[in-house]
Amino acid sequence: MKPADALSILGVRALRTLRGLGHSAYFFGELLRSVPAALRRFHLVVAQIHAIGNYSLIIIVASGLAVGFVLGLQGYYTLSRYGAAESLGLLVALSLVRELGPVVTGLLFAGRAGTSLTAEIGLMKAGEQLAAMEMMAIDPKQRVLAPRFIGGLVAMPLLAAMFSAVGIFGGYIVGVQMIGIDPGQFWSQMQNGVDVFDDVGNGMVKSAVFGVACTFVALYQGFEAEATPEGVAQATTRTVVISSLAVLLLDFVLTAVMFSTPR
C-alpha cells in the first residue's frame, strides 16, 4: 500500500468518525427538545419508568447482594489487619454509594435494559413502525424515544440506590451476622462517616449521568440501526460496548471532579 493510500484511508475514517459524532450530538439535541412533548404524555413516561426499572430490578438486587457479601468479606480481612474491623460498615457504605453502586448499576443497566431498548427500537424501525408513525404526522422521537429516555434517566438513580442499599445489607449479613462485628459499631461508623450530600448525593448525580449516557446510547443505536436482523444484532452489541466504556470513562471524570480534593 502506498503512503498516499494509507493517508486517504485514515482521512476517510476520521471524517466518518467525525460525522458520526456530529450526527449523534444532533440526535441528542433533538432528543432533549422532544422531552417536553413526552412529558405531556405523562402516562407513557410512567409506563417506561416502570418497564425499564422492572427489567433490571432482579439482576440489580441479586448483584447488589453479592457485591455486598464480597465487600464485607474482603473489607473485614483487610481492616482486621489494622485492628479497624469496626469500620467495616463505613467501608462498605462508602464503596457502594460513591463507586460500586452507580458504576455496577450502569454496567448492568447497559446489558439488561439498554440492549432491550436498542432491540425494541431497532425492530420497530425494521417493521416500519417508526416510518408509519412519521407518516401519521407523529414524531417518533416524541412518542417513542423521549419517554424511554426519561424512563432511563429516572430509573437509573433509583436502581443504583437499590443496589447500594441491598449491598449494605449484604455487608451487614457477612460482617455482623456471620463474622460477628458489633452491630452498633457497624451502623454508627457508617452514620458518622457517610455524608448525605458529598457521598450519597454525588453518587446519585453519577448514576443520573450514567442514566443519560446509557439510555441515549441505547436509543441512538436502535434508531440508527440498519433495518435487518444483522443490523439490529450489531446495534445491540454496540450498545453494550459503548455504554460500558462510557460509564467507566465518565466515572473517572466525575470522580476526579467530585472527590479529588479531600475534605
Binding site: 417493521g127 416500519e128 413502525q129 408509519a132 412519521e134 407518516m135 401519521m136 404526522a137 407523529i138
Partner: protein, 267 residues
C-alpha cells in the same frame, strides 16, 4: 393536466449516490380516483410514495399536494399535510405492543381530544368497515397477514384522510384476502371520496379496481392509460409486464460477462 389534480408530480428526479431511481417522472393523480402505479420490483414505485409523503426529497422537480408544494424541510407544514393522508405500508407496520383496537385508536388519540366513548365508536366503525370489529381485542401477534393489512387499512382511514396511499397492498396475500383487499380499496375510495394511490405489481387486481394506471420501468414512466387501453397496447414494455413474459425489454439475465468467458470456453 386537469385542474382537478390532487397530487401533481412534476419532472421529479431522485437517486442515491450514482444510482438514479426515478428520472424526470411526471404523474398526475386526479381527485377522487383510484390510480395504480405498476412496475417490477425495485423500479422506484415505493420511492414515489415516499416522495409524496415527504419522507425523502426529490433532487429535481416538485411534488404538489392539493396545490401546496411538499417540502420535507418544513416539518410543521409537512406534518399538516401528512395529517390529510393515510398510508398503508406493505406489511401493515402495526404497532406490535398495542392491541388491534389501540392500533386503530392510535392516530385518534394522538391528533384529537375526543372523549373515550367517541374514540371507541369510531374505532369500531373503522374496524367494521374492514370486517374486523370482532377482532378488536386481539393482540397483533394473533392476527394473520391478511388481517394485519386490513387493520392497517382501518388505522390509515381512522382520521378520514383525503389521500390514501397503498404500498403493495396485495403482496403475499392468499386469493381470498387479495380479493377482499381489492374490493375494500375501491369501496372505501367511493364511499369517502378520497383519492387513492396504489403501488403494486399485481396486474389483475389493480386492473380490476383502478381508474387509471401508470407503468414504471427503470425509473421512467413507460406507459399510462385506463386498464382497457393498457391491455390492448402493442408497446413491448407493456406487453411483457402485463403478460408476465420472462424475457423482453426487461431482460431475464442480470448484466454479465459473456458466458464463454465465465466458463473458460473458446468460441
Amino acid at each position: 393536466m386537469s385542474s382537478d389534480a390532487f397530487i401533481q408530480i412534476d419532472q421529479v428526479t431522485f437517486g442515491y449516490d450514482q444510482r438514479v431511481i426515478l428520472s424526470e417522472v411526471s404523474v398526475t393523480f386526479p381527485r377522487g380516483k383510484v390510480v395504480a402505479i405498476m412496475g417490477g420490483s425495485g423500479c422506484g414505485k415505493t420511492t414515489l410514495l415516499r416522495l409524496i409523503g415527504g419522507m425523502i426529497s426529490p433532487q429535481k422537480g416538485s411534488i404538489t399536494f392539493d396545490g401546496e408544494v411538499v417540502n420535507a424541510r418544513n416539518k410543521e407544514r409537512l406534518y399538516a399535510l401528512r395529517r390529510r393522508l393515510g398510508m398503508l405500508f406493505q406489511f401493515g407496520a402495526l404497532f406490535t405492543d398495542l392491541t388491534v383496537f389501540e392500533n386503530v385508536a392510535f392516530p385518534l388519540r394522538e391528533h384529537t381530544d375526543l372523549p373515550e366513548s367517541m374514540i371507541r365508536d369510531i374505532v369500531l366503525l373503522k374496524l367494521h368497515a374492514v370486517g374486523l370489529r370482532g377482532a378488536a381485542q386481539l393482540r397483533i401477534a394473533e392476527v394473520s397477514g391478511g388481517m394485519a393489512r386490513r387493520i392497517a387499512l382501518a388505522r390509515a382511514i381512522a382520521l378520514d384522510p383525503e389521500l390514501i396511499m397503498y404500498d403493495e397492498p396485495f403482496a403475499g396475500l392468499d386469493p381470498i384476502s387479495m380479493g377482499v383487499t381489492a374490493n375494500l380499496i375501491r369501496r372505501l375510495n367511493d364511499a369517502t371520496g378520497a383519492t387513492s394511490l396504489i403501488v403494486s405489481h399485481d396486474v389483475r387486481e389493480c386492473f380490476l379496481i383502478c381508474d387509471h394506471a401508470y407503468l414504471i420501468s427503470a425509473g421512467r414512466i413507460v406507459a399510462h392509460g385506463t386498464p382497457k387501453e393498457l391491455q390492448s397496447s402493442d408497446d413491448p414494455d407493456v406487453r411483457q409486464f402485463i403478460r408476465g413474459e420472462p424475457d423482453g425489454p426487461v431482460p431475464f439475465h442480470y448484466p454479465a460477462r459473456p458466458i464463454a468467458e465465465d466458463f473458460g470456453l473458446r468460441a
